[in-house]
Amino acid sequence: MDDTELDRAQHLRLIEALLFASAAPLDNEQIAERLPKGTDVAALLTDLEAEYRGRGVNLIYVAGGWTFRTASDLADKLRLEKVVPRKLSRAGIETLAIIAYHQPVTRAEIEDIRGVAVSSGTLDVLMEIGWIAPVGRRETPGRPVTWGTTDDFLLHFGLADRRDLPGLEELKATGLIGARPVTLSETAKTLPFSPPDELPRRDEPDETDDAEPADDSDGE
């Protein structure tokens, strides 16, 4: 390596360091300022650009200057994605169920069925998960948005069609809906005292005042 080549290597090092450390892209003049007069900055940059081509970091010309950027094809791999299992709240699953059965349905109608206000957060979460989507507007005063379930919903719950959801009568037949009259039935024989509303609870730790229609508890 002769002197010129040594200089050249040293200049490349300097440009490399400059562009790395700079918070903003640098143009040819800004780089030339820090190099001996007469240095062919453009040629050096071309070489440096070639040297970094195909690497994890590339030298690119952007917004009027040179800067290092991580290679665009690696962007996805840089992001660390972690899947965290979450539980849907009771309000969430009930709202989803009502939308599934009654679609298209407005928020006011959901509230009417649930007998409780539906927070927009609940709909947001369901929409974010991708299970519900606005499907139109009800042609009534205020033209409220109507909601329905999505293809993702069908996929997740293993349904071919939303009409595949079992009807009310079928739910009753499977015990998922029962008459549940309040009674001191024969099932109480093992219990010294059984208040009518104290049905077996789910043992999940989430907000379960969510009494299951446990198949042994309701009226025969």
């Binding site: 840089l78 992001r79 994605e81 299992p85 699953i93 989803l96 009502i98 649930r114 998922l176 299951e212």
Partner: protein, 260 residues
Amino acid sequence: MSDAAFEEDGREAAREGDELVVDLEGYEGPIDVLLTLAREQKVDLTKISILALADQYLAFIARARHLKLEIAADYLVMAAWLAYLKSRLLLPAPPDPDEPSGEELAALLTHQLLRLEAMREAGARLMALPRLDRDVFGRGAPEGLPRRLIPKYDATLLDLLRAYGQQRQRKENAVLRIVPAELYSMDDALERLRRVLGRMPEWRNLVTFLPPGLSHGLVERSAIAATFAATLELARTGKIELRQDRAFGPIMLRSAPGVI
């Protein structure tokens, strides 16, 4: 001896030519003065003459006093200690063997000086390291490494159907219907017992008064409880007598003697 973290280094100002100018402002305490004086000896600190150093220090303080400079107490304590050290180095060993010898005290002082000197050098080496944002630089515009948490909701179809079922059920059950319970009441038992009141001269087991055809379980138990409660009521009003020979034994009853 100001100790502010950012001050002009007063050391140079305190020295003029070879003469140590008495200006305590430039020093970081007595050890610093001793270190400066020790350097005047221009030898390795480990080979320094502590005796000579003590003399220099004492002369330094004497000059300061002569100039009526305000001298902080720790400088005077050091002077007293060095005077003591000097006497121990010059005089024969004291009778008390527990007291450290002059040589031991001198070694201690040397150690102290060496240790501070070592820390000064360490500080200088530290400051001479290539420092971030002064000598070396990190990436000027790091893109950052995003960490995205993807929530995964794991509701099942069963959850969905249950939720809907409960929802509908809650709606239906908004009106509370209490199914008439077919339980035996105390009134029934009283009625039943009154009919046989006067006709039981002999002790009879309480269970023989239960209505026929009871199913086992709750209804039967309610009949026993109601009948027992009724017998208590009748015993209270003197209509019958009750007897139980042992705990959990059969409860026996008969008409009170005056009732027959």
